[in-house]
Symmetry: C2
């Protein structure tokens, strides 16, 4: 009959790699059928119970206790296995044994390696924020591998770091490469001209590997943690990281990759990206790109495409940008919004899609997001794009491509609104359409523009003309009439949207306080790090030739919560 | 005091362009402040009422009646305006007056222009299906401009057409270009090598215009109507159109554009696109592309990009395709599914995204669509992709990049399932990861493959290896071990997904009955069309030099429903 037995070791903390090795060692012993070596959290006790590895004697274990449980063919073999635990633990020869001095506190480690710029934190989640906060107190950047750190702690750590010009990568940041040195899980890649910011761990690894396999290399690859771009955190680390790479002279092109992202976060990030001086390749998983290229921002659908495109752009730094809008136009302070009056539904929809890169919250009768459905199709609200070919506008009348009446009246209504900055119209020429739309539109455009001028405003009118040289209306003549009336002419919906997008983005910038610059490579000094947690991360640093020290960390106050609180109060 | 008066003309049908001209004519008369000329549908009566243009005398009008209403400064001016209606109607000189013979039925028109291949239908919606059905009875293709045609009518018309090898474009099809002749709203574009299929009207126009502006041209541009790709209609016209362009020797590249589309429809269409012999550029509005290129299918975010890419591909017909999977492998009939066991969350998610191009319904613990959330993360269901780095797999154990145990067991479980055709794994090398994952995996792969062989199955094992030449594990050695064990190796998630996508697509093809080929250009004969509805469409055909005849159409039985039913019965 098989026998399950086990023991609890109170206050004995080992990292999880050590525990895995111990468990594997026990499985090799005579008669041992199964073994479990875990810290005594409730989740772990559940796992052991499900495997039939939780003897009654171990049920009382708490999170700070180590449970060692074994299932064997006989009582004697089980007992023998348990007695062998210390032999196995002592046999274990780790690389940290070579470290001359093993500090037991971060304080001591900092004094031992004062030139360290980084603290790598991989202790269990409930201790991690405390260690990270302590590291920031010593003016160190933090690589926070630990998960199960609350979002409140994340916000407070990142805010503190940003104030000090320091980075907090994570929590749950699996990987990063700084100055060629991998932190956490990381691949050994060549140095080169691509900088990476990633809210995804294996995404970052796959990018560095693909770039390396293609013969190129990276400057820094900065992880942010999966929640950094959420509304609560507001992308603090991402924005710092982009700023670092924007200032870094070795970085020619930046890649930004992220797990699925909200459209609001994507838009806010796009405003940051537009302000950079370098090309940025974006890979937001599952995000429908507004276009292939918007100014300096390029969109890639997969990680491989992002890597390939970034390398291509490194060699092509004179990449053509879309025309930047003239920011010298004298808009009044009341003027903030675009009003789009379309006859073509697809042109309206493509405009909505592209404008996602510049703003959220465009109201429409055909919105991308139903929460921006216009209450009343007859009156605009903030940014508004209307498809006037929809039923609500065409009942009892012809399509606006033939009958302009309603659209001309709506134009005048929008032009009179002091909040309107830009009116965007499409004019679709060709057989079947109005025979001379420019003649109807031009006087109304001129009049609206001079009315605005007399009221101290500047009204931008953009007309998207869809027509060929051989269309019956004569596209050149139509265009000239409209241009003479003061309209800016575009011939493709995406380019028109980018043009107006730049205008409204300029009129609606909520300038976030600029971040204190983070310095990653202080005067050419190479990376030095203090490791708190998994020994294997220390080992990786040493193997890469980095300076590092491992802290022989133990849960504070043996992990007892009330004692921890007391200690924290005494320190503060 | 202003006066509103009006009159009803029973059974007098005019097309809407004529009514607009009449209304404009009345507005120019002395003292007339506003005028409304509309057929007496409820919607139109509502519009007139809202404009204060519905006198009591006109409230009884029915859909078949013409309402003429006028608001004037005085009673006498209003009456004078009404009396002027016939003068205005008679003054109207249309191009159809030049047509020697004006047939009053489709039957007569067909006898007059027997070589006509097309019937253009733009009569009011409730009559349109009847006219279209009649046209199909005469073996004519139908361009169905009318909207307000029920989806049931659409399905029945398109099914009938498909049986006969005919096309029904529409309903609500605004535009098409066949053999250089524009139907409906259309631009005059050069002939060239790009064929277009569009479920969007202005989308199609914008594409033809951009291609023309870039100096290239089109073969045919085929409209399908906005509902064609819905589940109910099943893309009958789209599939016929793609087949036409695939067979057309002048068409080198195909563009497919569509309004927002369901993921199920997108996938079904992708299977059709993959089967084509030509490159296809896809622009699904607001759809996150699975990749830039999947075999012969390319994705563009905007209409302009689609046009530019198509032109580029015309000159580059040796475009590199992704590797097609070897279809000779001897899978058993039970083997249908992919099982993906990932340690990297982002790699799993990118795989899910790319596989959307090959199948729907991939179950996962991190699904794109929550309705495919795996009930039990411990057992797979049909196609399944699992991220084993998620909490449910890592509580009480290390990340699968370090500790392979759970994944190896799951591998054996999947391999034993007779429904499994492909197992896809990632192996992420680098610092921090398992020091020799291939050594653990290889024997299990070999064993699973030979077990499958002995059971008369073929098990495909694909390993996505993420590692650089300088990683501590030696990527070349790792790869060789895995390859020797019988694994197919990939190094990028998107390419791995395309590789397995092609396999599972081959194993799960539900071959739809092939369509009877549609012939658009019958032995070089140029386009000839019968127009039923808006006179302006007839006019456009004549101006383009096409042969055309206009039917002097009137609602059957003066639009009375019971009489229409009776007539239909008498004809059948």
């Amino acid at each position: 009959m098989t026998k399950v037995t086990g023991e609890i070791r109170s206050g004995a903390y080992f990292d999880s790699v050590v525990l895995m090795q111990l468990q594997k060692g026990m499985l090799e012993l005579d008669g041992v059928l199964d073994a479990g070596v875990m810290m005594g959290t409730q989740a772990n006790k559940d796992v052991l119970e499900q495997s039939g590895l939780l003897p009654n004697s171990c049920r009382i274990a708490v999170a700070e206790d180590l449970i060692i449980a074994v299932k064997a063919d006989s009582v004697s073999q089980a007992s023998a296995a348990l007695k062998h635990v210390d032999v196995l633990l002592n046999k274990r020869k780790t690389i940290t044994d070579d470290q001359e001095f093993r500090p037991r506190s971060l304080d001591m480690a900092v004094r031992t390696l004062p030139n360290s710029q980084w603290v790598i934190v991989s202790v269990p989640g409930r201790y991690a924020a405390g260690v990270a906060r302590e590291a920031l107190g010593f003016d160190k950047n933090v690589f926070l591998y630990s998960d199960n750190v609350s979002v409140e702690d994340e916000v407070s750590l990142k805010t503190l770091a940003a104030d000090k010009g320091l980075l907090v990568m994570g929590p749950d940041c699996g990987t990063a490469v700084i100055d060629g040195v991998g932190l956490g899980f990381a691949n050994q890649s060549q140095s080169g001209s691509v900088g990476i910011v990633a809210a995804s761990g294996t995404g970052l690894q796959a990018l560095t590997v693909t770039i390396d396999n293609l013969g190129s290399g990276i400057t820094h690859a900065i992880g942010t943690g999966g929640r950094d771009l959420n509304q609560q955190v507001g992308g603090i680390t991402s924005r710092q990281a982009l700023d670092v790479l924007n200032r870094d002279t070795n970085t020619k092109v930046i890649i930004l990759t992220s797990k699925p992202i909200s459209s609001r976060s994507a838009m806010e990030l796009m405003q940051v990206l537009h302000a950079l001086e370098k090309p940025v390749v974006v890979n937001f998983l599952g995000y429908a790109p507004p276009a292939y290229q918007i100014d300096n921002v390029f969109f890639a659908s997969t990680l491989r495409e992002a890597a390939e495109l970034a390398i291509e752009l490194c060699d092509k730094l004179d990449f053509s940008t879309n025309i930047k809008s003239d920011s010298q136009k004298k808009f009044a302070s009341s003027q903030r919004y675009i009003r789009g009056l379309f006859s073509g539904g697809t042109l309206a929809y493509e405009t909505l899609l592209v404008l996602r890169a510049f703003t959220t919250g465009i109201y429409s009768n055909i919105p991308i997001d139903e929460s921006y459905k216009l209450d009343d199709h007859a009156s605009s609200h903030k940014h508004t794009i209307i498809d006037m070919g929809e039923d609500e506008f065409t009942i009892g009348r012809l399509h606006p491509m033939i009958d302009s009446d309603l659209r001309l009246r709506r134009f005048q209504q929008e032009a009179a609104d002091p909040e309107t900055a830009v009116i965007l119209l499409d004019v679709v020429l060709g057989y079947g359409s109005h025979s001379n739309p420019a003649a109807e539109l031009a006087p109304i455009i001129s009049e609206a523009k001079s009315l605005a001028r007399r009221s101290g405003r500047y009204l931008e009118v953009v007309v998207l003309v869809i027509g060929t040289a051989n269309d019956p209306q004569d596209v050149v003549a139509q265009t000239n009439i409209l241009r003479k009336a003061g309209a800016h002419i575009e011939t493709n919906a995406d380019e028109a949207a980018i043009y107006v997008g730049n205008i409204i983005s300029g009129l609606n910038t909520t300038s976030k306080a600029s971040l204190r610059p983070v310095v990653l490579d202080s005067s050419g000094q190479s990376l030095a790090a203090i490791n708190v947690g998994l020994e294997s991360f220390y080992e990786s640093l040493i193997r890469q030739g980095a300076e590092a020290i491992h802290v022989d960390w133990q849960p504070p106050a043996q992990g007892k919560d009330n004692l921890m609180d007391l200690l924290a109060k005494m320190k503060s």
